[in-house]
Symmetry: C2
Subunit: 191 residues, 2 copies
């Protein structure tokens, strides 16, 4: 496998399990099987590694959201799929999604990475508010406030659910925390 990709994989796993500041180039080197100094060939500064991590992550997320959009399903089903992405990212309660993991320890991140993170968050919120607006049209969601507000609420809910579920190392906390929201999408089960 491509070394750069192997490094990104290892770093992503470490960042999502233990935090970006909690793994070192030494850990990475051991995991991938090259020397510590060689990592600097691929990522001169650790900030470059963070940038590469978010870049890849944002692209992956963007693809997933586009795929969901392309399916001809009610808005409720799309929202269910969105929650599922955050649930799957947890790997049974052992890790967070990268954006939550980096947001948590954001003080040590470089400015470009902070900008990336802000952009990522805005993109997610925009996608959600668009789908929530569509949900008003097709009536596949019970209740619902202003789509902009509710987009932030859903994002906060899934990110917070990840946090508490990983703290307890128990994915069931994520499920319990999202149960009420998913119940409002129950109508879509009938389709």
């Amino acid at each position: 496998m491509d070394t750069r990709t192997a490094l990104l994989d290892s770093a992503e796993r470490a960042a999502r399990q233990r935090g970006f500041d909690a793994f070192s180039y030494a850990d990475l080197a051991r995991d991938v099987g090259i020397r510590k100094a060689s990592i600097h060939y691929h990522f001169p500064l650790k900030a470059d590694l963070a940038f590469g991590l978010v870049e890849r992550y944002a692209a992956r997320m963007s693809d997933q959201l586009a795929d969901i959009n392309n399916e001809d399903t009610p808005a409720a089903a799309k929202l269910r799929a969105f929650v599922a992405i955050y649930r799957d990212a947890m790997a049974n309660g052992t890790q967070l999604c990268l954006c939550v993991a980096l947001s948590a320890g954001r003080e040590s991140l470089s400015e470009p990475v902070l900008d990336q993170l802000t952009q990522f968050h805005e993109d997610c919120a925009a996608w959600l508010s668009q789908v929530l607006a569509a949900a008003r049209e097709d009536g596949s969601v019970i209740g619902g406030a202003d789509p902009m507000d509710e987009a932030d609420a859903v994002l906060a809910l899934v990110e917070g659910a990840q946090l508490v579920a990983r703290a307890a190392k128990d994915i069931r906390l994520f499920d319990r925390a999202t149960t009420a929201f998913l119940a409002r999408l129950a109508v879509a089960d009938l389709n």
Copy 2:
């Protein structure tokens, strides 16, 4: 002021702004005005400092929740007060509550502190589910699923709202994320 308290204050501020691993005894010493080594007199290991931090924090929270309970208000008002605690803890978007800050970088914490954190979380969820159950009785909350599930949902919501609001350094994100939930408590405004 008592040196031990001054150390706890400084450490709490640092932990909530930058994370528990992101401040050092050297920072603390500078801030409080004693030498680095002297901190070890009060907190031999950094784990002892973490323990003291959570201990004090949990006691404070417990008092606040008891106070809210002692008021003769509808359940909706109690829930509103709960959200307000998490909002106030943010200090205009610059910091997190201690429990969110520590949960975020939990891999570096000692076992006793992890246990404290779990206990703290369970206490909060228990309080919430009791109040949510009361809300069913007095009808001061619109809608509502199983109180146990919803307790986890509310906790995830406020913790996630803190995370996204601090990432943007903007308390308004917290407000937008909690708007929909607070709207369900609107009935209590009439009391």
